[in-house]
Symmetry: C2
Subunit: 417 residues, 2 copies
């Protein structure tokens, strides 16, 4: 049981209506127990397509996990396809029905509708994993040493099913070998230049280590994956290879353990007992959200403000009206004053501010769409940056800018060690 | 040219390291010009796998779009696979090289590295679409009436290539028939109950109309898709069928045109000239970010505050210390006072507040993880709700709660019409 294939079933993914986040979650969880996802099929809700894809999937890997197509409504056909593929029939499962009844009673919907009762019908050969956060159960089928799990499509239901039931089951049933991963974050150097500098190092990597480049914004993440039987040997191998990178590009490395920039920041701030606050205009809360999405952020994030209307920047953050009049609200000067006001309002060592035009509507004062000024203030020092990203849509703009600010702050903090 | 297949190439997707958002974007853009995505393959960066998948893809549809595997680094093999599959060779393309040079000069990297020069090598039979936001060009191959486009994997590069070049090209080259979609948002009614109520309506839908259920949080989105030759006929058909839903479930329908809840809110607020502000604790900026991610939100969103530390709730929002001491900071009473303080701070008609424990760390005052109180204040009326979502991880919790609040506000506004 080393290789898995995922099948995402649902027209809502193919039509672009929904982003498939389940595959990402499942792939990560499987990787942690040494199972590699070799391929993902995203297909429509049709019995023949589902059956054909199950066939293709089992030719690639011995473990197949499907998500989607198990709801109580008319467009869900996975269960039928599953029974036909495994030459089985669907019948009412008493345990599942009891679970469903008690699930619905707890939610004050004790009249079990016929349509919901259908959800307790499963292939007779299946092993059922009960769903504690929804009405569609997870069904496992086993045949000739191959395994399939069929899950509903709702991420809130998929996550606990995978984490609490499927992963422990697989871990327990198979003796799995280990995969260890480390990610090195490199900033301030283009991917191609980096690749040139570390080429010899890459070519000399041990055979059981693999390297990938993952550019994200202006950061390049180097992912090193090691596989083998002894976890502690793998960890040591990774550490040794990463140490060899420092003489080559050490000054550009901002992290070697954590992957997410908000976690990297969180570790730095916690370690150095620093506090932070944010004053956002064009990022609209995204920056604060990124910082607070790290668990434990209440230790260092004291607060944020989004003074969207210009007069709120003046009233709450004490930005001077004169500065606004003279330089416009999207300016280096306003960003600076916002950061200063923010630092005072929340009484923090560090403060971050943004002012810009996310678009697509025209900005005030004729500033071009995609322009943003941001200030990073640490103690009584500040530094203001300008970005111009006209090709990004509103959502990506807010996200890119927030990520860049956190990344720049991390670079600054790392260098004033 | 009615059907397309997408191929996402890259180990970073299969390993769970990156969420594939390109497929979603491309599928949406294709849908708008009447091209349906039939399947998405997500595969690893290996020449044989890429070639086999191109074969499978062209058996399903006449248009294949690949993303990923075109970077300047060692793990990118798409170009080779492409040339081999189309029985072609790779050679330096002068126009592409000139474009690359000027692209790099503009960014102050005029020494063209050998590795970057490689990016100007393309299959000789390909038509190149230049990339204005990165170094890897998009290559189109044409054979026996079938088309493939190969794009880089970075979303910031994919979006403009698709939107500004590929879509106009396809639109121009083929006489495409139309697909129209409308989404009806239904709240306050479980999916299975809804399905029962509208069953007869669904069965009576014209043959060229298809219905899908998309549950999202506590909302069910009904997606109606119509296909045919005359756009105005399709639009009328959709409108007629949607009108028939009102006698059945009218009081649960919150929108019939917009899809995203923040857009639905934006339209309501703009139409009624209402203003809004937010005071967030456990949602950490996500609520403000959702509201401001709607273009034009500066018309109604005046500002938000994230008083993360308890003393900031007291200082800035004038929550009484007595209330905090008596009921703890995660309480109905504090949520109410936060909303009131927020309304005053930003001088808005509507204010929203959240206080809760996102986890996974233990909450202050022993409140259980996953508990949140939120207040919706409209003029001098307020309503406070409690949610308990212990099974959600931190990120999903912040998102789910924010979405639910906006949804509840929309329901309230719709009903006080």
């Amino acid at each position: 049981m080393e290789n898995a294939v995922l099948i995402t079933i649902g027209d809502e993914i193919l039509s672009g209506n929904t982003v498939d986040t389940n595959s990402n979650f499942i792939a990560t969880e499987l990787k942690n127990i040494g199972i590699k996802v070799l391929q993902i099929f995203t297909i429509s809700d049709e019995i023949e397509t589902i059956k054909e894809t199950l066939k293709s999937a089992f030719e690639i890997g011995d473990l197949v996990i499907t998500t989607g197509g198990l709801g109580p409504t008319r467009d869900d056909k996975t269960k039928k396809a599953l029974a036909e593929f495994f030459d089985d029939e669907i019948a009412l499962d008493d345990v599942t029905f009891e679970h469903l009844k008690s699930y619905m009673e707890k939610r004050g919907r004790s009249e079990i509708l016929e349509r919901n009762k259908e959800q307790a019908f499963v292939p007779t050969k299946s092993t059922v994993f009960q769903n504690h956060y929804g009405t569609a159960p997870c069904m496992m089928m086993e045949q000739n040493g191959q395994l399939s799990f069929s899950l509903p499509g709702v991420p809130y239901e998929v996550k606990p099913l995978v984490k609490d039931q499927i992963i422990p089951y697989l871990k327990n049933k198979f003796a799995l070998h280990y995969i260890c991963t480390r990610i090195v974050s490199v900033v301030g150097i283009p991917e191609s230049v980096l690749a040139d500098i570390i080429e010899d190092w890459e070519l000399a990597l041990p055979e059981n280590l693999a390297l990938s480049y993952l550019p994200i914004g202006t950061r390049v993440k180097l992912r090193l994956t090691a596989s083998g039987d002894d976890e502690s040997v793998l960890k040591q191998q990774l550490e040794e290879e990463i140490q060899k990178l420092f003489p080559l590009v050490g000054e550009h490395i901002i992290a070697t353990t954590e992957d997410k920039i908000e976690k990297i920041l969180g570790e730095l701030l916690t370690e150095r007992k620093l506090t932070i606050s944010t004053a956002e205009s064009c990022t609209g809360g995204e920056l604060a959200k990124m910082i607070t999405s790290n668990s434990g952020s209440s230790k260092y994030f004291l607060g944020g403000i989004i003074p969207y209307a210009t007069e709120k920047k003046v009233e709450i953050l004490k930005v001077s009206q004169k500065t606004v009049d003279e330089f416009t609200v999207v300016s280096e000067q306003v960003a600076q004053e916002m950061a200063k006001g923010c630092q005072q309002l929340f009484d923090t060592r560090i403060s971050l501010s943004t002012t810009g035009v996310a678009g697509p509507g025209k900005g005030e004062d004729g500033k071009e769409i995609g322009t943003v000024f941001y200030t990073i203030r640490v103690n009584d020092q500040d530094k203001t940056f300008k970005l111009y990203m006209p090709h990004l849509d509103r959502h990506d703009f807010m996200h890119f800018v927030s990520q860049k600010i956190i990344q720049d702050l991390v670079s600054i903090l790392v260098n004033i060690q």
